[in-house]
Symmetry: C2
Subunit: 430 residues, 2 copies
């Protein structure tokens, strides 16, 4: 699957990258002009890879190359180059299933672990826009189409069991990336781990409480097992608002290097969690009381719509003649069969929602107590204000994870979030 | 995984098999004497393969060769030879995990889809013994050791997620065998299908009722999805009493060609279902009322012990220092953590029991309305008596599948079975 001759890989810095691209006529044509005139800028602000923007007389491209280690940490944390293979495979599949919602693929070199894509311009990382209180009117429709189609069409609802198993096997080798998730999301925030950090001293008590909270440890362990052993569909695997590039009129999902077959609720929960964190962070960014209320209302409305529209589209795909091996039509013939199957579809979505609520909670807690934080909170300069926003998010997340049944509908989540907007933890009132 | 040069495969009938074995010094030594003196007998009574017993001056061996089609049906139903590869892989793994409970492997030829094993003598197929009302005092201990160890040690309770994923991928290609199960167990008995058959005319009404029973169709479809998309552990995949060879003092599990990573309850449910069918069939075999009661009591006691001993051994393995990625010890430190983890272990077993109950029901119904029946019922010569036994088994199975929650413990299953021993369906009383 990921065979490459040893030694073919080398890190392409500016000059070598220019030579490599000059040797690819299709890409050289996209760029236009002389190779020497191309501007090449390294812009990677992610944790793992090199990312270059290359611009020529005619146009631009984005170049992503995997490094054999975690960029954020350095060579002491090796990470297989094969992730570029899986990212390319996932991107190709997503492009088929959700056309126009991922960047166009222009070139892939397996040996170099290098992928070239269209340059998304003037898109920005959605998370940055949310910090700036920007509303994205296309977002709900686009992200729910992306999720409904990529998840539905890679599940047994749409596939034969044989095709599904081939898909699972094709991504099984990406386990080093899954392991990052298993450790950083599902384990470390709940125990003493060197890489953990949080807004001290304000959240010291909460961090200690999480480490002693056995109900929470059971809940996170169940979610971890579900993450490891429930290959329901091909997941993006890292679907936070830093993996989404937007303008007000366009949405593009990027960076699926964590792709694997896992539980659908992990992707849906990631989107909801990152919106909820944007909501709780928003209070920390306001310079005058209430100035971001309209944005905050939009965020909560978006949380509700993301679930509701996702569920509607997923159900519509299922109703529209699913031909997978699950729930065969021949067992649900006639009016009575159709009615019973429809009730079962609703029950399926209810189970998926419960998963989503749990995974959303897990994705929240890791951003506040684990290794990787996000700018929603990090850009709140005053640490006490930041801690207040974070404590609200954690309070909701803890309830979502341990008392999942108390959130039977998305309005229960947004309602609880809204109430917490005016809640002050002890360290802020004492 | 299953590469072989085209044309290497050929069906080995007696003469060719003799030549092949003569060319393998280790096997020739086991047999002893001149190759020309070896007796070769084809004994395959299964549905898929050729099986030979070869005996020489010193000893005997069993030879199994896969055919490129389903033996029971003929060349019109092709089936990949690669199943011999997966069977060999599973047998090797089971031999490591449950030593002494599978036949010793003596030789495997991938190209010929041929496996040579120790000759099990004087073992018989357990199902035949059960028809003859034989009790097997070693069975509970052996089969529960086999299941507890093969299931526990191939799950994330004992493995890293990476090793688990490699295992899943290694068996993903065996989907043609999974498809047989998906069709014959989880689909066909609930719809009109050419291959279905049942004890007509007595069970005609029941067969029709199953086809219209939408609660049952939902339940079987949930189980089917679970079978397809829940790779909890490496399953035997076909663990009925026809896949177990016994003497009163020994138990050997054979024929794991349906092996794949699936839900643990499928294997455990298979054993329980086949014992329950032996129980219900027993009344049909009695020549004087009550002559098989002691045997029947032993069967029900065995049903209880199989679950209870399996659960005890599985839990003991888990408690004894599980080092897999699930439920990491670091999250359950201290007295409180230990207590909470123990409660979670019990909850895990409760979920596994519910799965087991559902799968046991599915395995029962397919033997009465699907393609493949079993001799427990088939050898009851009087069709009305056979139908009575079958109707009792189906009545219990329907309840187990649709009202699984009404069977929280194994005693609820055996209690219900016992009550049905004196129930007479309408066609037998009218």
């Amino acid at each position: 699957m990921t065979q490459r001759r040893a030694g073919d890989y080398r890190i392409l810095h500016e000059a070598a990258l220019r030579d490599h691209l000059a040797g690819l006529p299709d890409l050289a044509a996209v760029l236009g002009g002389e190779p020497a005139s191309w501007s090449i800028t390294e812009v990677g602000d992610g944790n793992l890879n090199l990312v270059f923007i290359v611009k020529g007389a005619r146009g631009g491209i984005a170049v992503k190359q995997a490094l054999p280690y975690v960029r954020l940490v350095g060579e002491s944390w090796p990470l297989p180059l094969s992730r570029a293979h899986y990212e390319h495979l996932a991107l190709s599949r997503q492009a088929e299933l959700a056309p126009g919602l991922v960047p166009a693929l222009l070139h892939h070199n397996e040996a170099l672990a290098l992928t070239v894509m269209e340059l998304l311009e003037p898109h920005i990382i959605m998370r940055k826009g949310l910090v700036a209180a920007t509303q994205y009117p296309r977002f709900v429709d686009d992200i729910t189409t992306f999720m409904a189609r990529t998840l539905f069409f890679t599940s047994e609802l749409a596939l034969s069991a044989a095709d599904k198993k081939e898909g699972i096997a094709a991504f099984a080798g990406n386990h080093a990336l899954c392991k990052i998730t298993e450790d950083l999301i599902f384990t470390d925030p709940y125990r003493i781990a060197e890489q953990n950090r949080w807004t001290a001293p304000y959240l010291d008590g909460l961090a200690a409480a999480l480490r002693d909270d056995m109900e929470l440890h059971v809940a996170i362990s169940r979610l971890k097992l579900r993450f490891m052993a429930s290959p329901e569909a091909l997941l993006h695997g890292d679907l936070h608002t830093g993996s989404i590039m937007v303008t007000e009129g366009q949405t593009r999902v990027i960076d699926p290097e964590f792709a694997f077959y896992g539980p659908m609720g992990f992707d849906v929960g990631a989107v909801l969690a990152n919106l909820l964190m944007a909501y709780f962070a928003s209070a920390g960014h306001e310079r005058s009381p209430g100035e971001r209320r309209a944005f905050e209302d939009w965020v909560l409305e978006t949380v509700e719509k993301v679930w509701n529209e996702f569920a509607r589209k997923f159900l519509d795909l299922w109703r529209g003649g699913a031909v997978g091996d699950a729930y065969p039509a021949s067992l649900f013939a006639g009016e009575q069969g159709a009615a019973r199957l429809e009730a079962e579809r609703q029950a399926y979505m209810q189970r998926l929602f419960a998963d989503t609520v749990g995974f959303a909670a897990a994705k929240t807690i890791r951003r506040i107590f684990g290794l990787a934080h996000n700018i929603d909170f990090e850009l709140i300069e005053n640490p006490q204000r930041r801690a207040v926003s974070e404590a609200r998010a954690v309070r909701l997340a803890r309830a979502m994870m341990v008392e999942t049944g108390a959130f039977p509908a998305i309005a229960d989540v947004t309602g609880a979030a809204q109430k917490l907007r005016d809640w002050h933890p002890e360290f802020a009132t004492g």
